[in-house]
Amino acid sequence: MPDALLVMTPVAVPFIGAVLALLARGRPALTRAVGLIALAALAALSLALFWRTAGGVRLVGSVFGGWPQPFGIGFVAALPGAALVLVTALVALASAIYALGDIGPRRRRSGYDALMLAMIGAVNGAFLTDDLFNLYVWFELALVSALGLLTIDRRRTQIDGAIRYATFGMLGATFILLGIGMMYGSTGTLDISRAAAALADQPRSAATVIAAALLLGGFALKAGLFPFHLWLPASYHTAPVTVAALFAGLLTKMGFYALLLVFAGLYGVGSGGLPAEQLMPALGLIAAATMVVCAAGALAQTDMRRLLAYHVIAQVGYMMAALALATREGLAAAVFYMVHSIIVQANLFLGAGLIRRASGSWDLTRTGGMVRQEPLFALLFAVPVLSLAGIPPLSGFFAKLIMIRESFDAGMPWLGAIGLLAGLMTIVSMALFWSDACWKDPRNGRTQRPLPRSGLLAMGMLSGATLAIGLAPGWLLNVARLSARSLGELG
């Protein structure tokens, strides 16, 4: 397959699938098949795309209308994006398998498959775009399909959660739009690599710094970073658990990827370019506050979904800390952390869904006994739990290790120390989570319901990926280093 076409497929395949699922809307069995086939095809194509770009090659893909690059709208597959597309496909496939036992015909008639495929397509679009305005459009598309998924049961709690999500999402999107407008005004182009080159040439002006601040605000809101983090635990937990897992894995990381693109790619942070110096201390402070506040917030929760939602944000705080270090190795740590976190967060939500299914409650104090009833589940679930806590042979350990070691090397040891503190709180919270759900006897002696095979299979896929990264972190670290280099070369 020609490269130009291959670059487009991670966006095109989910959207074609979404259209087919929409056409077959009344027939749940058919839409389910469409969803699974589209995601399986997406996984294969993403693997091919990753294979082509893994050496650090930059594929410039299909430009609509045949216009030359700065004018036409193009897709670009370079390293961090292509790797993230692959991980997205993995998580989407696992959640679709999990959905076999979680999303029934009623939700499928409401359009679950079409909305889910559209969201995956939008997320992939954001990972593969080379154009600031396109980035904004993909974010809006992801927001609309996420709102559809969030309100799929039309329950009161879901409508309320969706209002919060929509309000904050629209606010963030408008700030992104304003930032893009300022950027266009000062560089005269929307193409990221061209804008980066234009910014490197011109002296720093108020307009570029304000644009950076607006983009930081908008994308930080999307990623759930500290001052804007409250909407996330307030809305995620109302969605069906498969949807919450997808959101936790993908949507905040999409926001952080955009931050990475803007600060590392556009402003040359971490590659000796012209950094938005006035903003760099703010980045560090935001990261530190996010890590500590959200890790502490997680300790206070007993509702499994809210607890995990706080951890989602705390993990974005670690990525932000890695970006705030403003070194090449820091960027590599951020990319490594992102890949690890997408897999682990989605897996944790899937695990929480299975615990709920067995015990009938989202409340940790009412669960228990999983280790006796479902030893396989307890084992599979221990992998993401320990990985999030950062226990050695798993992916989270290396992600945290690189970030903290680099913070000492880059002369910001306080950030590393705060990372360690938040890490300690994460270990406590995760230890309580696992022992409450798995070890403790169920309090009321309820009989546990058996778990669906599909759920265990989905968790097995993701836990296997986490284990693979943890046992052989070298290749992912290599990919992360190449990603940092390719981000630095944009300018």
Binding site: L147, T157, D160, L178, G181, Y184, G185, G360, T365
Partner: protein, 124 residues
Amino acid sequence: MLYAFVGAAIIACALFMILSRNLVRVLLGLSMLATGANLLLSLAGKIRSEQPPIIADGQQTLGQAADPLAQALVLTAIVIGFALTVVLAVLVLRAWRAERSVDSRQVEAAESLGPPQERDPTNA
């Protein structure tokens, strides 16, 4: 310059409205915010001329002309902003039907899970 001040004023008013407790006012504020952003976006294209970007008869190069790219962007942003406003309006309508209120303090079913022991385990 005048346009820029008008845009900033619209955005300031919109932010004030978004901070309101009334969900309808928040909705109107968000749609106003999008309007202000669109005005500033078209300003970013630098209004130099009102001529269409077409090379005049007998000329080889394009003279002073408006920036078509900025206008295309504004057009797209208007459509997207409108679509999202409608989606939010539907959500507010549903919330009003469920709670008979558009006061954001009353619309809190997502938050009020109650103390853990009193929660109905089947209600999740």
